[in-house]
């Protein structure tokens, strides 16, 4: 096929995923996920205000496998976005820009977010009231 326009060199198709870009896109994805989940927060408040039967309906949905999956996704998104958000705030203040700190703080964020998610679920499932 004959083309007259200069081709564009590849970018996302061939660039190596690195901790920098992967944690950054994860921050965006978790942020958007939390945004999509934010109406649930309002729905929860509305259900609580509406009375025990409305609340029980919501609780029923949240206890279903889909609800639990969504809650798991949202709790991880919350903790990851929170921890990486704090990392971002340090950068905004001007700290932590050498590569060694970028990588160490990055791995710390990943570990702590997974840890907080597990702790929240283990603790939450164990609570009796």
């Amino acid at each position: 096929m004959i083309h007259n326009e200069r081709p564009l060199s590849p970018d996302l198709q061939i660039y190596r995923p690195q901790l920098t870009s992967v944690l950054s896109i994860a921050h965006r994805l978790t942020g958007v996920a939390l945004g999509i989940g934010s109406p649930l927060l309002v729905w929860w408040l509305l259900a609580a205000a509406a009375g025990p039967s409305a609340y029980a309906a919501l609780q029923g949905f949240l206890a279903s496998w889909l609800g639990l999956l969504l809650l798991l996704g949202w709790t991880f998104s919350l903790f990851y976005h929170l921890c990486n958000g704090i990392r971002h705030l340090f950068w905004d203040a001007g700290y932590g820009f050498d590569l060694e700190t970028i990588y160490a703080s990055g791995w710390t964020v990943v570990t702590v977010s997974i840890g907080l998610t597990l702790a929240a679920w283990i603790f939450g499932c164990g609570m009796k009231g």
């Binding site: 081709p7 996302l12 995923p17 920098t20 905004d92 001007g94 050498d98 590569l99």
Partner: protein
């Protein structure tokens, strides 16, 4: 897995590229096809393979990747040596920019094994097998590994990279303390003034990929910082006015691919954060 400087290579490769189709989101003229595999040199014991992006503007065909086999025992140690050997002995149509061959001019910047670096300072021994070589990302390709850098130079010119003073010229030089000079040169020689304008950083910035027409990118911005930080410059306010824009500056989301990839070990991410801090400071 813990990177301490940009010249450190990753010890583990989990993903060589993002899991998207080969020609994902690519328009028809830019789709890369499988090209030719050149025969291995006769009698060579150590062979290195190079999969190189090729584009011939005169043929009107799509870009493709050709694979070359190089006798490493008869080749210099750097990727640039392999490219020159291929051009000399195997395929003289292979086209690429190069000049100093010692990592100071920035001409041979290209994407090697997925990250941007200078071909003359990348050891062949540190590349994958086959080594994949592409031009700098998201740029119009003139031919083979030669991208059109016009827009990047225009963005550099936009930040007005020259000294702007409002005081009369002194008899000799405008004085600067060694601490002030260190802001530009860096205590380790890796300050913003040491940038060689190779554009590895800008070509590796996803924000510049998606908004490069309006976002200035790390190369132009580290140079903008170089002039903001220069104690001899008197136009700091005007420079900040021109930078404070949702696209020119604030498309930077601190992704930090730039700092990761700089072949001279500079820190554009940090420079951009300093610009944002200066803008925030002047209104508090």
């Amino acid at each position: 897995m813990l990177i301490k400087s940009s010249d450190q290579l990753p010890s583990v490769t989990v993903l060589k590229r993002f899991p998207v189709p080969r020609n994902f989101g690519v328009s028809a003229p830019s789709r890369i096809e499988r090209g030719k595999t050149w025969p291995a040199p006769v009698g060579a014991t150590r062979i290195g393979k190079f999969e190189i992006y090729r584009y011939d503007p005169e043929s009107g065909t799509n870009p493709r990747t050709d694979t070359y086999a190089v006798d490493l025992d008869r080749c210099g140690p750097m990727v640039l040596d392999a490219l020159i050997k291929i051009k000399d002995e195997i395929d003289s149509t292979l086209t690429f920019r190069r000049s100093c061959r010692e990592g100071v001019c920035g001409s041979c910047a290209m994407n090697i094994d997925g990250t941007n670096w200078l071909a003359c300072t990348r050891f062949i021994a540190d590349t994958a097998e086959p080594a994949t070589i592409y031009p700098l990302n998201h740029l119009r390709v003139i031919k083979d590994l030669v991208p059109d850098l016009t827009h990047l130079y225009a963005q550099y010119a936009l930040i007005e990279p020259w000294l702007k003073t409002k005081t009369a010229a002194p008899e000799r030089e405008r004085l600067q303390s060694s601490e002030d000079a260190e802001d530009l040169n860096g205590e380790d020689g890796k300050g913003p003034a040491a940038c060689i304008l190779c554009f590895c950083c800008t070509a590796g910035c996803p924000s510049h990929w998606w908004n490069g027409n309006r976002f200035l990118g790390p190369a132009a911005l580290i140079q903008a910082w170089r002039w903001l930080a220069d104690s001899r410059d008197d136009a700091t306010g005007e420079r900040l006015d021109d930078l404070e824009d949702p696209f020119r500056l604030y498309r930077c989301h601190t992704i930090l691919n730039c700092t990761r990839t700089c072949p001279k070990g500079l820190n554009p991410g940090k420079a951009i954060a300093s610009i944002k801090k200066m803008i925030a400071e002047r209104r508090s």
